[in-house]
Symmetry: C2
Subunit: 344 residues, 2 copies
DNA sequence: CTGTTAGCGCTTTCAA
DNA sequence: TTGAAAGCGCTAACAG
């Protein structure tokens, strides 16, 4: 079903049919209606490839994400998808599994796919070769979650969030707080959160060396539970993301500790499932879907204007602390015991 | 960077350049290498739209899913994405939020997007208008999760799984088992699981009327907890999906019951996060990523053969029961109390 | 307001 | 083995 067929049936030229769909004002109402009717009857749908070839714009947005298995990114993609659809764009998502090599491949794939622009979450904007390629290709793009002065980003201020969180925990009475993080090298977010943690600990006058890097997802709960079995164990865990927080709660269980009575656990991300858990996950929430929507909005706007997206158009969205049920004041008795251990 | 440019620089015709990439055997090694070298130096990438227009195949697969917010489908999409990429296809996902109207729209959108085929999870294959359209358009497609003799499907035998599950619970000693389900009308899976439940209860000689339909996600935990506060409450909950199971565990908590001591909760889906929870979710697991991969494989194969995908090529994948920690033998004392309540 | 026409970049006969 | 040329379906000057 091509435009020619419709034109023939309607007794007009293909140009007129094209106008009916793209510049309806430039066609008489009479012909417009007739053409529409016939097009509909024939089930005509414009050929996207032909249109893209002719206009040099595919109306497709590439999306590069670490994984869909972490609900953070699934939620974000959901936001991207809805905003893109609303703006008349299709999306073409690719995952990288946090691997730099795959990041490169992903960008290549999308470049080859003629996308008009890209939304991406990279490991680290400073070192990403994929980003360099993108800039070389002069393709409009926007980063999500990443935060870097040299790139247009939509993100939250993770560092400030964690600073405030540590202050809150300290104020609750926690003195032994450990940061549980995934591979620091794999994510600038993890690094920012670490900086926030150090800063917060310093500000609270607490020693800041308590950090547990959990590189392997599989053994995370075991690794964390080991930490909880030692004398002078932490009374609170600040987890770099919600998935780690969930595993930390499991680790507490494995170590025979109850959350939040024996151990406070706080996450970061605000994945929606956290609200349904028992205990409800205490966490710093990010507006994940909104993050995707805003990133998409920025990109679509840039595309419409034909302008390159400037780093100065970066957006910092609001985060929030969700109290939840996995975080509490440390039990006074527990504090005494731990203190005495310290003295030994 | 067009093929013409490469041709000119290499001193050959565009046809030869095209052959170098598509039919390399039909070109002398010498020219092949030279063209490749120059193409690489120029950063040439074939234009996907032009190729699609010319060949009438976009190498894009449409994907229609209810939502990305349920990890089941995120996991499945992950499988689809990896299989599609491996086969040289891009994917174009659209979500329907379980709405029939959006299902229609989604299919239209993808049809307009010139996809070569579609993988979809619909509400109900029997009644789906979207599927009719697809068939009318003669576009190859395959359903995932859905199960219907008139369509090519990749699924698990939910009904049999639940029959076996109920038998297992009965054998553990449970007599009061309630099925917790989402909107039955919105999903054929829910209906199949219900059938399995009824069949299983019947086989175990238990009364089968215990069913709780929870239409609103928001209030799910509250709704379920009400059920748990009545006299003669169930000792086991069979949940139609893992998200409901998670909310049921919360409901138990709200009702002051502990899982699995006071109440057994079993889910359905096998979302990966279930293994990290405390208690580990007892559930019937489906191979979600594999489901996506197999569906993609079937579709890609059909596309390669130029054959329509027949219902007879449907695949039933293996499900399994994951014991987990949210399911146990009912406490004997509890049974006594409940029995006495029944007598009152 | 409408039609004619050129051509987007690629693949694929057909000839050489 | 390679090249010439047509044409996929559409849009956008340009002319009328």
């Amino acid at each position: 079903m091509s435009i020619q067929e419709v034109a023939k049936q309607a007794g007009v030229s293909s140009a007129t049919v094209s106008r009916v769909f793209n510049l309806p004002d430039k066609v008489t109402e009479a012909t417009r209606e007739r053409v529409k009717r016939i097009a509909k009857a024939l089930g005509y749908m414009p050929n996207a490839s032909a249109r893209a070839l002719r206009t040099q714009r595919s109306r497709v947005l590439g999306v590069v994400l670490p994984t869909l298995l972490n609900p953070v990114f699934a939620e974000c993609l959901d936001g991207i998808a809805s905003a893109a659809t609303a703006a008349g764009y299709a999306i073409l998502p690719v995952t990288t599994d946090y691997q730099l090599a795959q990041e490169d491949q992903a960008v290549n794939l999308l470049l080859a796919g003629n996308v008009d622009g890209m939304i991406l979450v990279v490991s680290n904007p400073s070192t990403s070769r994929a980003l360099k390629r993108l800039q070389a290709a002069k393709l409009p793009y926007v980063l999500a979650y990443n935060r870097h002065t040299a790139h247009p980003c939509v993100s939250v201020d993770s560092q400030a969030a964690v600073v405030a969180l540590v202050a809150y925990l300290a104020q609750l009475g926690h003195r032994r707080i450990t940061l549980v993080t995934g591979q620091l090298a794999a994510s600038d977010r993890a690094q920012q959160r670490l900086r926030g943690f150090k800063k917060g600990m310093m500000a609270a006058g607490l020693k800041t060396s308590d950090l547990l890097e959990v590189p392997f997802v599989k053994s995370a709960a075991q690794d964390i539970s080991k930490l909880l079995l030692i004398k002078g164990r932490p009374t609170a865990l600040v987890c770099s993301n919600d998935l780690l927080a969930i595993r930390s709660i499991r680790a507490a269980h494995l170590a025979g500790l109850s959350v939040p009575n024996d151990l406070s656990v706080v996450g970061f991300d605000g994945i929606s499932i956290g609200e349904d858990l028992t205990p409800i996950l205490s966490t710093i929430t990010q507006p994940n879907a909104e993050m995707g929507r805003r990133a998409t909005g920025l990109l679509v706007q840039a595309l419409a204007g034909g302008k390159p997206l400037k780093p100065s158009s970066s957006l910092t969205l609001e985060h929030a602390f969700r109290e939840g049920e996995s975080c509490a004041r440390p039990a006074p008795i527990l504090m005494e015991i731990l203190k005495s251990h310290k003295k030994i």
